[in-house]
Amino acid sequence: MSKKNSIKFTLIRGIAALAIALLVAFILIFVSAAGENFGEKLSNSIAALREMLVSPLFKKNGSFSSRNLSVVLAGTIPIMFTGLATCIMFSANQFNLGAEGGIMLGAFVTALVAVYWKLPGPLLMVVAVLAGGIAVALVMLIPAVLKAKLGVSEMVNSLMLNYVIMYLIGFLMNSYLADTSKGITQTYPFQENAMIPQLVENGSRLSWGFVVGLIIVVLCWFFMYRTKWGYGIRMTGLNQPFVMYSGMNVALIVILAQVLGGFLAGFGGGIEMLGRYNVYNWKALPGYGWTGITVAILAGNNPIYVPLAALFMSYLTQGCSLMSTNANVPAQMISIIQAVIFLLFAAKQFLAGYRQKLVVRSAQEERAALEKGGNK
């Protein structure tokens, strides 16, 4: 299929998926909406849907809200990193689901460095975040090496690892690290020079971490499409026997992809921690890893589309949470709506018939062009 048709198809497919998802969402909202009669329910539902779609950007009076926008942007930071991590691991056909535990462990390790290690100036910030990344990279060696050397399923391993990480952190916090002067389980406050400065001072917690995220996105793209390692990772994902036959080291690639993914997740955890909080207080898995998988799938495993996909997910999350507070739609409904949108996007067969038509037309055009060229 030609590039033009390919883009056209992607666009039409995206819009169609969104339209159907919104329709389903509307029906769900309508079913659960408050109201005495049909008309009232309908107007409440429309108000709720409007809330979901426009409130992440606009104020009540309809004017543009830069604060709302920065909240949405701040929401992209952690899922950009988990999205990138998942992109790289999935590109190599490694279905490692460890970004979830990874971002939690990264945040935790970063927090410990930020609390206890006395380092001068911004050096502490840099070291803390890197420590988070390296810690998770090392942990990801477990599923990666087991997969590469023994063929153990990385999916099962990394999934279980998430819970190991969560309970291990819980144990360490409760037993040794909690600030005993506080009523809830949290660490002592971070040192002042560990904090990542805010990009805008409006309480939205949009830190410079966002810019770092965008830079990492570009670096990841270069890594994947402009280096031999990224090339090896992508080819392994496309056809592993081909990579082996070509003389590349498949085991090393399998390990590299997962370790790098772990590093990105941990690094993102550190950025999120130092950009948004001043103590560590996560008790459960944050969910950013799961959203990161969605982001990676939406981005088609291409790092360059990760910010867009992250923005979409963050916007959706923000819109839904505003809808649930302002428009009286049950919070559970939010997850359902998100799931519907995601399913339609991820379904390979969605509009496959239309795609086939485009392919056929493309092929016919090419043939016609070739014959024309041949006649000259």
């Binding site: 270069f222 402009r226 280096t227 031999k228 090339y231 090896g232 992508r234 080819m235 496309l238 056809n239 026997p241 081909f242 990579v243 082996m244 036959y245 070509s246 003389g247 590349m248 080291n249 090419e366």
Partner: protein
């Protein structure tokens, strides 16, 4: 009741991609006979049988089962007409027991819900005794030997009411004893009125067990014969033959130093079958050594040994005096060994990657294509464009997905990569299988050109034309051994080749030993 169990009349099959697999084939099988269907790989045997089992529909022609015109639209219909198929690669669920496999899809139930396992075992044992095909009903399929798996497959077809059984190369995976058992069982079933179609290209088996045979060549029928009326020589002449002879112009070979040295290589596969037996040969700079033979006689195993996909149980292999057994593909490529793989879609390319990405797979870490940590995209583009031009790959651009190219152009990309990395030894395994004439001619010319420039070429091909025209000297493999060696291919005839390929004749050890050039 018709005398014939099956009559296929004037069957023609054209696949959507334009391949004519069968052309005007007449095929008939009498009730209660064992009928051999013979032919080389690609002769159209599988297609014909797929149509009989309802997996494919004929483009034109008529099929009669027991005298009745029948539309075999699916395997379900074929089974209901009493046709059963025993596939070469068993269609069994390894983690289930024999009894469970036996009743799969038609399981007896208790009160309609729970599977009645006891009854499944009873059915299995009943059929096993009735047809004298002993199997262990409670054993898991993954734990039983290959011979028993085959019995399970046959019983499975019988349980489903098959009267006509298609056996697709049933002896390919069996040991000699298991083959004897199978033949005894088939003869017994034949007495009970069952009809068999026996697909094979092993002559001695055909002579041993079949009543009549149909020989296919190039998609056409070469006729139906009574087994007792034909000699192995006649069969081999009918089966093996060349349709068109493309003459290759090539200079006299002037072989020099030994490059590849294979001595006494032996390999026993996972089922305990000896696939390579004392294989020894030498290949020298500047010559093309061909390996001919019917597929499945050890060629695949030999290539696996040479390119590190498998390791021999005994023997030595060296390239330019250095051992290569135990090396992985990266180390082999560092020794400048190239392979044009038989399965190009599995090993040769990544179909969803671009042409360019496929061209650099063996050299992505090279100095020329990297600038520090980053790819040197300029150099990569230049190299790709050069190769696409030199190998006349018909495409829109280097960034087109390779999977969208025709087979011939895909193969040109593969050879462009394999031939351009300064090889000392090229292993070309079926280099032109299934590709168009233009690409075939191009690749053959290239192989001759490279060999004349001092590269050692090992050519493995099931295409007689190809091995005879391209090779300077030629080996024939049969039953995992080198059956013959011919120093000069020009004095060879198809008939003589056929005799060695089908195991009718075998050279003396001294004659074969000449290929070691000692």
């Amino acid at each position: 009741m018709s005398e014939y169990a099956i009559q296929m009349k004037a069957i023609t099959k054209v696949y959507p991609n334009g391949t004519m697999a069968n052309q005007d084939v007449d095929f008939n099988v009498k009730v209660g006979e064992i009928h051999a269907l013979m032919g080389e790989n690609g002769a159209g045997k599988s297609t014909l049988m797929k149509m009989l089992f309802g997996l494919e529909q004929p483009t034109s022609g008529e099929i009669l089962i027991n005298g009745q015109p029948t539309n075999l639209s699916s395997p379900t219909v074929a089974i209901s007409k009493g046709i059963g198929m025993v596939h070469q690669h068993f269609m069994l669920v390894p983690s289930l027991t024999v009894a469970e496999n036996m009743v799969l899809g038609m399981a007896p139930t208790k009160s309609g819900i729970m599977i009645d396992y006891k009854k499944a075992v009873a059915i299995t044992e009943e059929y096993s005794q009735k047809f004298n095909l002993p199997v262990n009903a409670n054993a898991k399929v993954m734990d039983i030997p290959v011979g028993m798996k085959q019995k399970v497959e046959i019983l499975k077809a019988l349980v489903r009411g098959a009267k006509i059984l298609i056996l697709d190369e049933p002896t390919a995976v069996l040991t000699t004893q298991e083959i004897q058992d199978l033949f005894a069982e088939l003869k017994e079933l034949k007495k009970q009125g069952y009809t068999f179609i026996f697909i094979s290209h092993k002559l001695n088996e055909i002579m041993d067990i079949t009543d009549r045979m149909t020989i296919l060549r190039g998609g056409r029928s070469m006729g139906i014969y009574e087994t007792k009326d034909v000699t192995p020589e006649e069969i081999s002449r009918l089966m093996v033959g060349r349709d068109v002879v493309l003459k290759m112009e090539k200079e006299e070979a002037r072989p020099t130093d030994e490059v590849l040295r294979v001595r006494d290589v032996e390999y026993v596969n996972e089922w305990g079958k000896k696939m390579l037996n004392k294989v020894s040969f030498s290949l020298r700079k500047g010559e093309i050594l061909g390996i001919a033979g019917v597929e499945g006689n050890g060629q695949k195993e030999l290539v696996d040994m040479l390119f590190g996909f498998n390791h021999p149980n005994a023997g030595t292999i060296s390239v330019n005096g250095e051992n290569i057994i135990g090396l992985n593909q990266r180390e082999l490529r560092e020794k400048h060994i190239s392979l044009v793989p038989e399965d190009r879609m599995l090993y040769g390319i990544a179909a969803d990657a671009t042409i360019e990405e496929n061209l650099i797979s063996d050299r992505s870490g090279s100095k020329e294509l990297n600038n520090g940590v980053l790819f040197n995209m300029g150099a990569i583009h230049r190299m790709s464009d050069d190769l696409i031009r030199d190998y006349t790959v018909l495409c829109k651009s280097r960034s087109q997905k390779i999977g969208s190219l025709s087979g011939g152009n895909i193969q040109k990309v593969v050879v462009a990569r394999e031939f351009s990395n300064d090889p000392v030894l090229i292993i070309a395994d079926q280099p032109t299988r299934g590709i168009d004439v233009g690409a075939t001619e191009f690749i053959r010319k290239k192989l001759v050109e490279l060999s004349r420039s001092g590269i050692a070429v090992l050519l493995i091909s099931a295409d007689l034309n190809e091995v005879m025209e391209l090779s300077d000297s030629l080996m024939i493999m049969h039953g995992g051994e080198i059956a013959a060696y011919f120093e000069d291919t020009r004095e060879l005839s198809d008939e003589l080749m056929g005799k060695y390929m089908l195991g009718i004749e075998h050279q003396s050890p001294e004659e074969i030993r000449r290929v070691c050039h000692e």
